[in-house]
């Protein structure tokens, strides 16, 4: 952990001093009068509370003479309190913020010192930090806070799960759903009963004060500890980058086993109160499993649909779009927990359901906001959880019983291994891609336990389960073992066994096309075979989605956008933004597309002036401007409405990029020569002069430019090696910038190219060739070509913005 942590700790201690009487998160808020009682402020000249009014509110009982101006008349006059301390006023938020700050600083520290974090996973380091902090607090003589279950389940866990659910790789998940379900349900049941049963046997045999633990208590214990923990799995697996299949198997299992855990936990907890357990109870328990899991999913789906529907109308208030996503998901979680349904499954379901529709509706910035907020919250949550695990270990009451703990640990491991082996043998009969022994090893080894088990145990009340402390101790031991030993060794093992790692490259348009092609092909073949397999149902769902659901939940024209086109859009957008952000021409992507995709359908886009956020449409405009300079084909454009371009940071970046391009002209030439694909049949030699005016009107200050000239594409002609070169245009044209006052006036102007150059015959369809919109469009399209044109050197600085 190094210097940063050590530096932080004394500081933390210093500030923790005042915290300690409050006992952090565990006890009820200490009455506010207590800290003030520590300050003998009653006599004159002592420390007085700063705003007298607030002191009055906080502690009506505590009277400090001479401090209240209202009472000043009868008391001896005090000096006006210039400075005061009122810690009780801010204690709780202060402490919470302090803990979170500590967590973030720890995280920072680990990354500043990479050497340690390469060997030891972050989760281990955080637990150690927690141990140290807990030890420090205890050393000072105060009681360290224990991770309260409510705080854990209501505040710390949901962000992590939502982050996981919202970004769940749906394709792999559904392809392996059967496997995942079997591992989650059957595997967890097997673990719970095997462990519970064996522990009961041990308790009977052990004879070291364990005899009083009944079967039900043991089964309860088994069910608590048998669940693989999503937080721990995420924390560890994130760092080892194994291939997607294994990742989704273990992770999916850890998510879906929540339903089983919830059912078993409540079941055994209830049963422990019963005198007798009848068959009816068992059947009811079995039923409740379905209720809990399907109910949770149902609740999640409802909220997901509502969220998607809400997002349809948020085009006018873009700034609060992310909030809808978060709130609806959180409500889904809370609603499920309200009915004792599986909150985790509700959260996952809502994230999965709302995502495709919400993403089609919200702006690009909202999308980024959602992504970053989720990552931020889940990161902080995870850190806090592990730190508190450490602190709670120090703080908690422990009851160490060697037999119990060691046998728990042993049986946990054995149960996991046996379970995975047995289930894989069964599953492989039905899988096309079998799970190899290597895979099985990783799955078994990745069965980490974590804070959920701890919190569940902590929830048990002492009355019925007086061996709770022993359970806690055993659970903590298992958690420590899995996180430390398994977490630390899994990375070298993965390397040793040469397990396939995650492929980092992004999906290309080719893959998308062929994937869809294969999907359709497979669906057709399945129909012919009469086999209602995976593809058949997926196809049905897609069709239903397209026909009914998308229309309801996606705003405007995008509801009709086919998935392929949407994918293409997204890809283009990402590239354009990367280009702007990188700012340099040296990174022209070699697969730049030829045609902008903005106007799939003519649509009326809302004018967005008030919002500071850059909407998705704006981004597309920028993208098209970029395309302007990199394209080599002509294109047919339909007329459309464009709204004003509000001055925005991309403008800045654009201008800077232009300047840089001026300097890098030579490099551009070379790159452009490289870029040209001589045999590529898409461009004509004359196209080198035609630049795609995909959205030149973006710079048009007037919102109502209806007219655009039609520019035809001629895809069949060969391309010339001439390149689009904005810098060239600028340079050549800059000297002529002030040539005509007309140009200056219009700012970003375009000159209608006289069709004298060969081949540009139908490039610019006349029509409204005199409108400024046309001018601008043509300007984007014009190009130096073999002879420099005087007008083309103007930079894209819109006037009259």
């Amino acid at each position: 952990m190094g210097a940063a942590a050590l530096r932080a700790l004394p500081w933390a201690l210093l500030l923790l001093g005042p915290l300690l009487p409050g006992q952090g998160l565990q006890a009820d808020p200490v009455p506010a009068s207590e800290p003030l009682q520590r300050f003998p402020g009653a006599e004159p000249g002592g420390i007085t509370t700063a705003p007298p009014a607030s002191a009055q509110e906080i502690e009506p009982l505590h009277k400090q003479p001479g401090n209240h101006s209202g009472e000043g008349a009868a008391k001896p006059r005090k000096a006006f309190p210039v400075l005061g301390i009122d810690y009780g006023h801010v204690r709780i938020p202060f402490e919470i913020s302090l803990w979170i700050l500590l967590a973030c600083l720890m995280k920072l520290g680990f990354h500043v010192i990479p050497s340690v974090s390469n060997i030891v996973p972050e989760s281990c380091l955080l637990i150690v930090v927690g141990l140290l902090v807990g030890g420090l607090i205890k050393g000072v003589g105060e009681k360290p806070p224990i991770l309260r279950s409510e705080i854990f389940f209501l505040f710390l866990l949901p962000p992590i799960i939502l982050d996981a659910g919202y970004f769940l790789p749906l394709r792999q998940f559904t392809e392996n759903l059967g496997t995942i379900l079997i591992f989650a349900v059957v595997g967890t049941l097997w673990n719970a009963f095997f462990l519970g049963g064996l522990m009961y046997a041990v308790c009977q045999v052990g004879g070291t004060g364990l005899n009083h633990i009944g079967l039900l208590a043991n089964l309860l214990f088994g069910s608590i500890i048998s669940a693989v923990d999503p937080v721990a799995v995420l924390a560890v697996f994130e760092e080892i980058h194994i291939n997607e299949l294994l990742h989704i198997l273990v992770f999916g299992e850890s998510l879906l086993n929540d339903a089983v855990t919830v059912v078993l936990y409540h079941l055994f907890e209830e049963f422990a109160n019963f005198e007798q357990v009848t068959i009816i109870d068992i059947i009811l328990g079995f039923l409740s499993f379905f209720v809990v899991s399907l109910g949770g999913v149902f609740v999640g789906v409802i909220y997901g649909v509502i969220a998607a529907f809400t997002s349809r109308f948020t085009s006018h208030i873009r700034v609060i779009e992310p909030l809808f996503v978060f709130l609806y998901s959180y409500m889904a979680y809370l609603s499920a927990e309200l009915f004792h349904l599986s909150g985790i499954m509700a959260l996952i379901a809502s994230g999965v359901v709302m995502r495709p529709y919400v993403e089609a509706n919200i702006s690009h910035k909202s999308h980024t906001t959602i992504k970053y907020f989720l990552k931020m919250w889940s990161s902080v949550s995870e850190t806090l959880i592990f730190i508190f695990l450490g602190v709670s270990t120090v703080a908690g009451h422990h009851y160490w019983n060697w037999t119990f703990v060691i046998s728990t640990l042993l049986f946990c491991l054995i149960a996991r291994v046996l379970g995975v082996l047995g289930l894989t043998w069964f599953i492989n009969k039905f899988r096309i891609v079998k799970l190899t022994p290597k895979d099985q090893f990783i799955i078994a080894y990745g069965g980490l336990r974590g804070a959920i088990a701890f919190s569940l145990c902590y929830l048990l009340d002492y009355e019925h389960f007086n061996m709770r402390d022993m359970f806690l101790t055993a659970i903590i031991t298992v958690i420590f073992f899995t996180v430390f030993v398994q977490g630390m060794t899994i990375r070298p093992l993965v390397d040793l066994l040469a397990v396939k790692k995650k492929q980092e490259t992004k999906r290309s348009i080719n893959e998308e096309i062929h994937t869809q092609f294969l999907d359709h092909l497979l669906t057709g073949i399945e129909d012919i075979c009469g086999h209602y397999g995976h593809h058949h149902w997926k196809d049905k769902l897609n069709r239903f989605n397209k026909k009914y659901v998308k229309k309801c939940l996606i705003a405007g024209e995008r509801s009709k956008e086919p998935q392929l086109i949407a994918f293409y859009h997204k890809m283009e957008m990402k590239q354009a933004i990367e280009l702007v952000e990188s700012g340099g021409l040296g990174k022209i992507p070699s697969a730049v597309s030829t045609v902008s995709m903005q106007n799939i359908q003519p649509k009326t886009l809302p004018v967005e002036r008030a919002l500071p956020a850059l909407s998705k449409d704006k981004e597309e405009e920028i993208r098209k401007i970029l395309r302007n300079n990199l394209q080599k084909t002509r294109q047919r454009l339909r007329s459309y409405n464009r709204h004003t371009l509000v001055a925005d940071p991309y403008e800045e970046a654009w201008n800077q990029m232009l300047l840089r391009r001026q300097k890098a002209r030579q490099l551009e030439q070379k790159i452009n020569n490289y870029l040209t694909v001589p045999a590529h049949k898409l461009d004509s030699p004359t196209m080198s002069r035609a630049r795609i005016g995909s959205d030149p009107l973006a710079y048009e200050p007037k919102p109502d430019s209806e007219n655009l000239p039609i520019i035809t594409i001629d895809p069949a002609s060969p391309q010339s090696p001439e390149s689009v070169d904005l810098a060239n245009e600028e340079l050549k044209g800059s000297s002529h910038l002030s040539s005509s006052p007309e140009e200056d006036e219009e700012g970003l102007v375009m000159r209608v190219k006289e069709p004298s150059s060969p081949g540009t015959d139908d490039v610019f369809t006349p029509g409204t060739s005199d409108s400024p919109s046309n001018q601008r469009m043509l300007r984007c399209l014009s190009d130096p070509g073999p002879r420099p044109e005087p007008e083309e050197g103007e930079p894209f600085i819109p006037k009259g913005q």
Binding site: I432, Q516, L521, I528, P562, Y568, S593, T594, Q601, P715
Partner: protein, 188 residues
């Protein structure tokens, strides 16, 4: 139909060797063949396949049906049926004729041929555009599709000819694990 279903088709053993399908799978396929063959003709016609409602809604309906009736034939007997479907046998390394329908490269080649209608061994821009048009539907304007097709072609085309040969295609989809996708469990 009940009696006919029990009778094994002629040449089962040879067919099994050729296609790599197990005799049990072939029996199942034979039943299916007879179920599809509405008028009990003993062979399939395109109309038989197109009568399947799920297939009729499929964007690639004609191409798939066309795979069973190569070169404009109007009849498909059972061996043809089995041979085409053998491409979708889960490849588990079971031995079959090299170059037979379920050898490793053959699945990919089957897909390639679905793209390459004119059979010249290259997927041209036009063919790609046609496939895209089929899959995407009628609402998307031409230039949008042109862009997608152009981009796809440009990405995959390593030889610079402007068309995709089989090797280009194979390289473009190598991450997709086509062999695994083109496996129908029923045909094991």
């Amino acid at each position: 139909m009940g009696a006919a279903a029990a009778r094994p088709p002629p040449g089962l053993g040879a067919l099994s060797d050729e296609t790599g399908l197990s005799p049990a799978a072939l029996m199942r396929l034979h039943e299916r063949f007879q179920a599809l063959d509405r008028d009990d003709k003993g062979h399939l016609s395109p109309a038989d396949l197109q009568a399947l409602e799920g297939l009729a809604l499929n964007p690639l309906c004609e191409r798939i049906v066309g795979a069973f009736f190569p070169a404009g034939a109007q009849r498909a007997d059972f061996p043809t049926f089995a041979r085409v479907l053998a491409h979708f046998r889960p490849a588990e390394g079971a031995p079959c004729e090299p170059g037979g329908p379920s050898s490793p490269g053959s699945k990919l080649r089957f897909v390639f041929e679905l793209y390459d209608l004119d059979g010249d061994g290259q997927i041209s821009y036009r063919e790609l555009l046609q496939v895209l048009r089929l899959m995407v539907g009628l609402e998307v304007p031409d230039e949008a599709l042109a862009a997608v097709a152009a981009r796809a072609l440009r990405e995959a085309d390593r030889s610079g000819r402007g068309t995709l040969c089989f090797e280009d295609f194979a390289k473009a989809v190598e991450r997709l694990d086509v062999d695994r996708r083109m496996s129908i469990w029923m045909l094991k």
